[in-house]
């Protein structure tokens, strides 16, 4: 399957936005299985994720690849309407914790999780603990991700983790934290279940938690 879409994979990996869009349009018009195009996109994102982890590409490439994938999925979605939907891995509730209004890192994680097959509920920035808790209750999501860029986010994460615990949700939802000031010491301090140093690591961690890795 993916061999037939190799040119699409290459176009995405090389961030040739117009070429990728044209290939997707052509394939859809020719009746190619839309799921094969999504699979090609995921394969491309895996490659870009590896390049990112190896320090070959950087944040701009992740953001640009995310843009290409958003456009790919917008094109493909109408064709999926009355077909079987792509396999989904589960729901992740995501937000930047209270006191911090930084959006970009969280946005990259949301895009990467979505591409990897998760349903993401993005609560935005400066999110109070109660909102995380209410959303976890409504969605029964197995994973919640707390994002933060500032050092002030660390105590906010700790408080949010504690509140989720008091709400009795830790048995059903695992908590991951991420952002520039986050490391293992911070994870231990906040009592989160795991931490990720970047969006690629966050996807790997989420997959390992739902048994998708």
């Amino acid at each position: 399957m993916s061999e037939q879409q190799q040119d699409l994979v290459s176009a995405i990996v090389e961030l040739r936005e117009a070429d990728a869009a044209q290939l997707v349009d052509e394939r859809l018009a020719a009746g190619v299985d839309p799921l094969a195009l999504i699979a090609a996109g995921q394969e491309a994102m895996d490659i870009i994720g590896k390049q990112f982890a190896e320090g070959v590409v950087f944040i701009p490439e992740l953001i640009m690849a995310g843009e290409i994938m958003k456009s790919l999925s917008a094109k493909v979605t109408p064709y999926l309407a009355d077909q079987r939907s792509a396999k989904r891995l589960g729901t992740v509730v995501l937000g930047t914790v209270q006191g911090d209004i930084h959006d970009i890192g969280k946005g990259i994680v949301a895009t990467m999780l979505d591409i990897a097959g998760f349903d993401v509920i993005d609560l935005g920035v400066d999110v109070p603990a109660e909102k995380f808790i209410a959303t976890l209750r409504d969605s029964h999501a197995p994973i919640v991700g707390l994002s933060g860029l500032l050092t002030v986010a660390i105590d906010s994460m700790k408080a949010t983790v504690a509140a989720i615990g008091e709400a009795g949700l830790r048995a059903t939802a695992k908590i991951m934290i991420g952002g520039a000031p986050i490391n293992e010491q911070v994870r231990a301090y906040t009592n989160a279940d795991g931490w990720a140093k970047d969006a690629v690591a966050a996807v790997d961690l989420a997959k390992s938690w739902v048994g998708g890795a």
């Binding site: 590409v57 950087f58 701009p60 953001i63 006191g99 959006d103 500032l150 050092t151």
Partner: protein, 450 residues
């Protein structure tokens, strides 16, 4: 400016003239004692020696600014923004107790809250206006300049700023988009339609608001704005920033197009991005020069943001970030100025690129944060002054003993042949006072022995 024949001088002669004017500015300082005057002279000489890659009498220990004086005085960030008197007192108290070799400045740190309220500033959130009472400002990331507006900027930056950017970032200045560009005016007959917009109610209201903004700015200048001068006179600590400039990539990437916008532009419209940055170079050089002309301090401060490790590949750093930053640096050096480059985050992958033979030696101060200082020294030693990099995390979570050990090692590693300043690696909004004291003490102890 500093001489009658400025335009005939070489950059080296301009540098010398500016240095002389800076040292001569001591005549305008009312030192409280001979001791303060002598301390000022000694510190000025240490700074100059370090810039010129000589071995100063000892390693200068300089602050990087931040909200720490507020924490130290026990006042909240919100009080700093809204109570200028309390803020000034806090900064004076901090300067009294922490004996750096330069003033711990209020400029660009004590934010004027009522000015922001009057202007309805939308670019940031600040205490009591979107962030908590004790949290410093944060950027509201938006595309304040739209992706399809590059030609407007390239065609006429001033017009773009007046009629598009400023009305978006200041709610109270939205009517700035109404009057025509100033370049419409050539000669008589000056046509009434040109001035008609100033009769309109929103424009007239805006002009009144601007007057109020001016008064708020003047209140700040009369309060926190006097602290640096007082510190200079009382303790003989020079101010180290004469003017400010920015990397063109950061002007676009920090606020105009935003972090995400500029990263996409780099792929989607690289030529427009490059052209816009080139357009900004002489404007930024002029801004830095004017600041230094006024203050007489020849050091122009440039904070560096979106060129750090991880934000761009090395190839893109060399293509998109460095060329116009370098042009700004060269423009400032040509005016006889020294450029203070505050490289926040890591610059490990940039050390080769910034060791650029086109830039004359002894005109830059590279202040590093998480960059490996031994590597920085290896690349820039004997070529430009380097500074840094006591980690913010160490100052927040460490012990005075750990700070002492870090400074000892750092000085041992990089200060041996001069051309080094000791500073925190980051803006210090938080730090344990005893750790900051340990940094100063260790800098003076080990910095005198090299």
């Amino acid at each position: 400016m500093f001489t009658d024949n400025w335009n005939e001088l070489t950059p080296e002669q301009r540098y010398e003239a500016r240095m002389q004017a800076w040292f001569a500015s001591e005549a305008n300082i009312d030192f409280v004692s001979d001791e303060a005057r002598n301390a000022w002279r000694e510190r000025m000489q240490m700074l100059r020696d370090a810039i010129e890659l000589k071995k100063p009498k000892r390693v200068p220990v300089l602050p990087t600014g931040g909200l720490l004086p507020a924490r130290y005085a026990g006042i909240t960030a919100r009080e700093v923004y809204y109570d200028y008197d309390k803020a000034a007192q806090a900064w004076l108290k901090f300067n009294a107790d922490f004996d750096f070799d330069a003033a711990f400045s209020t400029f660009a740190v004590v934010f004027p809250g009522d000015l922001y309220n009057i202007l309805d500033l939308k670019l940031i959130s600040w205490p009591g206006h979107g962030t908590g009472d004790d949290v410093h400002f944060q950027y509201n990331e938006r595309e304040w300049m739209h992706a399809d507006e590059y030609d407007l900027l390239i065609n006429d930056p001033s017009n773009f700023w007046q009629r598009y950017y400023l009305p978006r970032i200041f709610g109270a200045l939205e009517p700035l988009s109404i009057p025509d560009p100033a370049t419409d005016i050539w000669e008589p007959p000056i046509n009434p339609p040109t001035f008609f917009p100033f009769s309109l109610e929103p424009v007239q209201q805006m002009l009144q608001t601007l007057a109020k903004a001016g008064e708020a700015a003047a209140r700040w200048m009369a309060g926190p704005g006097t602290v640096d001068l007082q510190v200079m006179a009382k303790y003989g600590r020079p101010a180290t920033f004469g003017g400010a400039a920015k990397a063109p990539y950061d002007i676009l990437g920090d606020t105009l197009r935003g972090t995400r916008g500029i990263m996409l532009d780099k792929f989607r419209q690289p030529d427009k991005l490059l052209a816009a940055m080139e357009r900004l170079v002489p404007i930024v050089v002029d801004q830095g020069r004017r600041g230094s002309d006024m203050t007489k301090c020849p050091i122009v401060f440039i904070p560096l943001h979106k060129g750090a490790d991880g934000f761009l590949s090395d190839a893109d750093f060399r293509k998109f970030y460095w060329p116009t930053l370098k042009a700004v640096i060269l423009g400032l050096i040509n005016e006889g100025l020294v450029v203070w480059l505050f490289a926040e985050g890591g610059y490990n992958s940039r050390l080769e690129a910034i060791h650029d033979p086109d830039i004359p030696a002894g005109r830059l101060i590279w202040v590093f944060d998480t960059t490996d200082m031994k590597e920085a020294k290896r690349h820039l030693g004997g070529y430009q002054c380097i500074a840094g990099n006591v980690p913010g995390s160490l100052l927040i979570t460490g012990t005075p003993e750990e700070v002492d050990a870090y400074v000892k090692q750092l000085i041992n590693d990089v200060a041996g042949d001069g051309g080094f300043l000791l500073t925190p690696g980051v803006v210090t909004n938080e730090a344990k006072p005893e750790c900051m004291q340990a940094m100063i003490a260790a800098g003076k102890k080990y910095g005198a022995a090299v």
